[in-house]
Symmetry: D2
Subunit: 341 residues, 4 copies
Amino acid sequence: MLRAAVVGGSGYIGGELLRLLLCHPRVEVTAVTSERLAGRRADGPHPNLRGLTELRFAPLADLGRCDVVFVARAHTETMQIMPRLAALADQVVDLSADFRLADPRVYAEYYGVTHTAPEMLPSFVPGLPELYRERLRAADRVSVPGCMATAAILALHPLAAAGLITGDVTVDARTGSSGSGSSAGPANLHAERSGAMRVFAPLRHRHEVEISQATGCPVRMTATGVEAVRGVQVLCRARLVDGPGEGDVRAAYRERYRDEPFVRVVAHRRGLHRLPEPKILSGANLCDVGFAVAEESRTVLAVSALDNLVKGGAGNAVQCLNLRMDWPERLGLEFPGLHPN
Amino acid sequence: MLRAAVVGGSGYIGGELLRLLLCHPRVEVTAVTSERLAGRRADGPHPNLRGLTELRFAPLADLGRCDVVFVARAHTETMQIMPRLAALADQVVDLSADFRLADPRVYAEYYGVTHTAPEMLPSFVPGLPELYRERLRAADRVSVPGCMATAAILALHPLAAAGLITGDVTVDARTGSSGSGSSAGPANLHAERSGAMRVFAPLRHRHEVEISQATGCPVRMTATGVEAVRGVQVLCRARLVDGPGEGDVRAAYRERYRDEPFVRVVAHRRGLHRLPEPKILSGANLCDVGFAVAEESRTVLAVSALDNLVKGGAGNAVQCLNLRMDWPERLGLEFPGLHPN
Amino acid sequence: MLRAAVVGGSGYIGGELLRLLLCHPRVEVTAVTSERLAGRRADGPHPNLRGLTELRFAPLADLGRCDVVFVARAHTETMQIMPRLAALADQVVDLSADFRLADPRVYAEYYGVTHTAPEMLPSFVPGLPELYRERLRAADRVSVPGCMATAAILALHPLAAAGLITGDVTVDARTGSSGSGSSAGPANLHAERSGAMRVFAPLRHRHEVEISQATGCPVRMTATGVEAVRGVQVLCRARLVDGPGEGDVRAAYRERYRDEPFVRVVAHRRGLHRLPEPKILSGANLCDVGFAVAEESRTVLAVSALDNLVKGGAGNAVQCLNLRMDWPERLGLEFPGLHPN
Amino acid sequence: MLRAAVVGGSGYIGGELLRLLLCHPRVEVTAVTSERLAGRRADGPHPNLRGLTELRFAPLADLGRCDVVFVARAHTETMQIMPRLAALADQVVDLSADFRLADPRVYAEYYGVTHTAPEMLPSFVPGLPELYRERLRAADRVSVPGCMATAAILALHPLAAAGLITGDVTVDARTGSSGSGSSAGPANLHAERSGAMRVFAPLRHRHEVEISQATGCPVRMTATGVEAVRGVQVLCRARLVDGPGEGDVRAAYRERYRDEPFVRVVAHRRGLHRLPEPKILSGANLCDVGFAVAEESRTVLAVSALDNLVKGGAGNAVQCLNLRMDWPERLGLEFPGLHPN
């Protein structure tokens, strides 16, 4: 059994990592840290883990050696503890934003602080198997992308890679409330957030630079908080280059994702579920990707959906571990999602 | 115009008082207090008031004389400022729990602190027009009951007053999230509260003593937080005395509430909306009351529903003001609620 | 009292018309029609009307003369009965799509059927007071725009009229479930629709031609069904012409809507409620309009929100009536909306 | 591999059976029937199955032999096809109500029709492993109880079996919308059902007789539809016999469920999740059971929660299959549920 630790295990991403790792047949969770809840049972803040574990939170200072450490701490905090974590474990899988951007100047611009470990940035491989599978098989340091970035990258990548789109891409992202974390303030009170459609980032969002970095597309992003706990849906509007039509778009998606275990192409002409919807993906490590084409206006709308805590975070992280360990890529990630839900 | 002030105006009940008073044709809101938001615009935390008012919050220390003061502060805080408020205004309408219980020993038992103004208790009349209309016409001090208590009292009163029930009454109350207030902690995060059915008071709740006090029935209360923002629904199960049947129960309700402007008897044999439901009452100063009878088991189930911020709080308070001022009782309270909603 | 009838009164728009007209101080509702529910009480399908009316549905064949008739029937049905309705009442306010488009060929293209009353089209004035107030003061036939169209037109109009934008506008509309009507099929089952983000019109929607007709902008529209019952939110992304900046955009909105009773400009730099959100507008005849500008990319995002049954339908209709009758424009439309909700 | 068929596979229970059986390591789904959708892909109405199966619906008439047949058809229909199904498969697991009640006269009383296969009733074992595990190991015909019945039985059984309660039990059941099925009418439209608290069975519900049959307790049941898709929560209020206290109640639950793989005792003194809540159980084959005791009033409140499609239906059915086949009882049922969700 591989010995894994979760650093920052009291939040929602931490809980989801625990759920996946505790159910994973080849992993043993040896430690979970939380400063705030040190000494308390891990199934307190994560009641779905009752019966799965007797683990208690420990302070980070008590963390010993292990084979792999998953890091679910806030950005800016993470880069400060990373040198130490890298010394404790052979492999590090980080879910914060701190090691996602290759250029520390871009980090400073988007996150408003100077990067404190810029020398470590080149050692991290982006935790997105669909784009970086071969590198991930050998990667000891992995940085999992943001949930909305993952959705947008998987929607755009086949089009960009096939040269089917040109110019700016507008990304309209809708996200559920768990993305704000478990310690969020009044903005996330149920009475305020229930049924909301809150445009919290009208013309720019931090994830846009991740999308550009991965796809090469100039991106302009809008983000709206909607009623959902775990769902993310992204609509990407791009200009189709002259010549190709809907058939070429469909072929690009089919081709690109034919062998992907966790991406489904969903683009039907009719029916209730003809484009991707996050409602049926809760708990699943899936990203559904679809599209619509208006040839007369040379427009393509790429749509994708995922669970922000799974394929948009903890599940993606476990998929990267499976790759690195040369295990079956679906191991521990088989849950297909529920309908209705 | 009657000059009114709202003390504790930054919370949800405070906002609802402002909404009703700002739209009331014979009231002028002259001040609203908040320590935390002093100096800020009142339509900041209450965005539905945009365009209705230019008022800013002031600290309580700045409050001057007015005709009536509505108090929407936390319990235990309220009793400490009440002597001063009573000196500032001719009329006081309190929405906290501090002046609801006639006996300060019962208060100490249920709220865990000694009452600091027990000498003022006898001067308060319960703010429930359906039971105390004549006293309220002359009342300068009013204490509005709790939202679940109001619902249960209006459901039980006709049965109790007509001698139709006997023995213990079990009250199963379901309540939306706004009842927890605007500064609640992690328990009320959207991700935690959305779709919840949280039994937060399995066998005892503070409101039960208010219900007993008003109806004379021994009450055992269970309370569950459910998905709703404003709705309260209460199911009261009681034993029917020997003899009377469903017809007598119906007659008791019809008789009791025939002339009430804000209570509707809803007890149909079929249809989607055959018993009271809070969903259609948001914003309305209504309490819908209904019942079902099982004669073979001598059981009656009384069901009621209301908006916890309106008929369960601010609307009831304004109704009391209308009575005291000898204005039409419905003045400023005409909104009938929405369907669908 | 003006005698008003509602044709097609069993659906959600019909119910909302009844709510507003029954509470209107200068209107008497003399009839409400429904073929399906003829003979049944109007407060059956509309339980919020209990206590407000004893009206029963009648078949259309029984409808007699009245002063004004509001029509809430399905499109394509409406154009067939319109000649008869126009003979029964001095004024007709239609809420269907049948008289919104000036050109019957465009109607045929978007609705798939030949218009059966094209000769009546020129007699209808669009029921949007903010753009057509003077014409509406004299209009005996009014056609109220679609809910998403109203939101988008009010968001874009100040920019288009001031010449601040150029080129195609993309409209991203999110809409609640009541827009699908009260007789919708499996797609609108709660288990399917709850928490959904359903892109039902990825690249074209019928309302886009209404928006173009009113604003002169070429429009490309996407529509998504989200979790809400009554809310519509629209995001319009446009290119800012060279020269002007955020200040000019703000000035255009302020100027245009300064005196509008039912449009609020909501564009704050911070705070929970800094851009329009439909959650606080349920039941209110308001359209909140806001914007964000990214000068470096010459992009403006115009955001608007409304209740699809009120300012997006029945409320707009009553506002038109108030104008035509030379009554105060806010009469019967004063409800400001709820927060939280 | 065991060859399994699902009869009545287009509904929500049918879809859940398919999800569990398609992911089960020792089962092969060889057929799924639907009259309405015959010829269509099974992943059409069940989009979460995309990628898991290429199966298409067949009419029942085409069903051939298999090892086990799961039946998810409506009650009254099921008893008519049961003789034929019993001839087609060695084992039958029925999820309808038709074979739950031992006495056909009670069936006629609660379901309003005469039972057409009363001779088959004695051959069915109730599909509730916690009460009937040994009989189920040998049972070729299994009848899975109703979702609310399962929840209530598991809540009450330890108390009843230990002789800790006496007299009538009142059961207050709250249920999500998927229990009404995928072809339900206007009552389940999103606009009507969203946020509802609909008391649809105020004093009697069909499941009460199942509860009495299994526990021996006289039961009076109330049922309310609340906002949830899959969740059921049941509150059972009973009178504690003289003598025992909270410690005895706790011991009875612990003792009874110590070795149960799918029942967790959740009865903490504090914390957000101190009593069972269905929100964290979606997709899991778990029933959480808890309690509160008021010794002074000799009252015990037993609370339980489950997912009505899993432990309340399809999951329970698969657990029975595992028992019958002498497979590990948890096989294919390991999903622990999500938090938040």
